[in-house]
Symmetry: C2
Amino acid sequence: MKDKIITISREFGSGGRTVGRKVAEKLGIPCYDKEIVEKVSIESGFVKEYVEEKGEYLSASGKMSTLFTLHHLYSNMSNEDIIWSAQVKVIKDLAAKGPCVIVGRCADYILRERDDVVKVFIYSDEDSRAERIVRLYGEKTETPEKRLKDKDKKRSSYYQHYTDMEWGNPRNYDLCLNSGAIGIDKCIDIICTLEE
Amino acid sequence: MKDKIITISREFGSGGRTVGRKVAEKLGIPCYDKEIVEKVSIESGFVKEYVEEKGEYLSASGKMSTLFTLHHLYSNMSNEDIIWSAQVKVIKDLAAKGPCVIVGRCADYILRERDDVVKVFIYSDEDSRAERIVRLYGEKTETPEKRLKDKDKKRSSYYQHYTDMEWGNPRNYDLCLNSGAIGIDKCIDIICTLEE
């Protein structure tokens, strides 16, 4: 696996980000997650918080932002489209540097033409995810179930919009691991030992 | 894994049956596949060939058989329902005997109330599956693509009809492995080493 690029798509609260980081640590390769947001921010000109929100989530209605920016003077692209284009460039550039783990952001789709990519989907049952997000991110006004549903819906819509494929359909991945059932450590082991 | 029951759902041509048999061999536990057909045949009174067809496949239209049998004198159950009931009993009885591998036949759903079941889904891309079915089962008048589509449709309809769940949705399984991408041997290794 040391010569591969590993993309990790994940349901919110499934621990996919942790899986990605620990796989990278064990394999001694970089893990790109928040770094992508920073690079896309520089590339697109939008602030990081905006990139983070718009680079993976589409509002449930599927509507794009109508916020007017200078970009609109030069093209018909929405802000989301500009961020998407920057994200495609950043992810392709990072992959070109060599083996790595990339968490989220449709990297499986963006790198689909490479033959050295292992595509993983991490998911879990709702109870485990609800427990995890409350433990990691604290209580909010909305119930954890509502937070999960909203995030899933927005990630799924975003993926569908830009890839024209179904998010979480196993046929788009090489392996799909239920972290709630088999445990996060086992997910890490399975991914690391794939090419042993 | 030696103390677990492993259920393997699989797409036609994905090699899931081979994976199941070899996992059982490696773990030294029984693999139930064709044996289920024999037992259901005895339990239900239908011949094996009929059980094999009706115990996993629903016609694409979703219609049940209207063949009149003696069973219909005593109940309003269709032949498929009678076979399903026998299959539920046979699979629960086999699971009660101890650790084993069970291939297909909605065993993941039938055993859903047990907490010692590992649920696996094996799938693959269409090209790998088409190549495999021609190699194993020979050429037929229908194209391999048509044969795959028909079998998938019937298995999916059957699963949906009796479980009210979506066949191949990763959330119904503990892990989903793309045998075309990672190879059949790696699928076997991953399942065998899950509990090491």
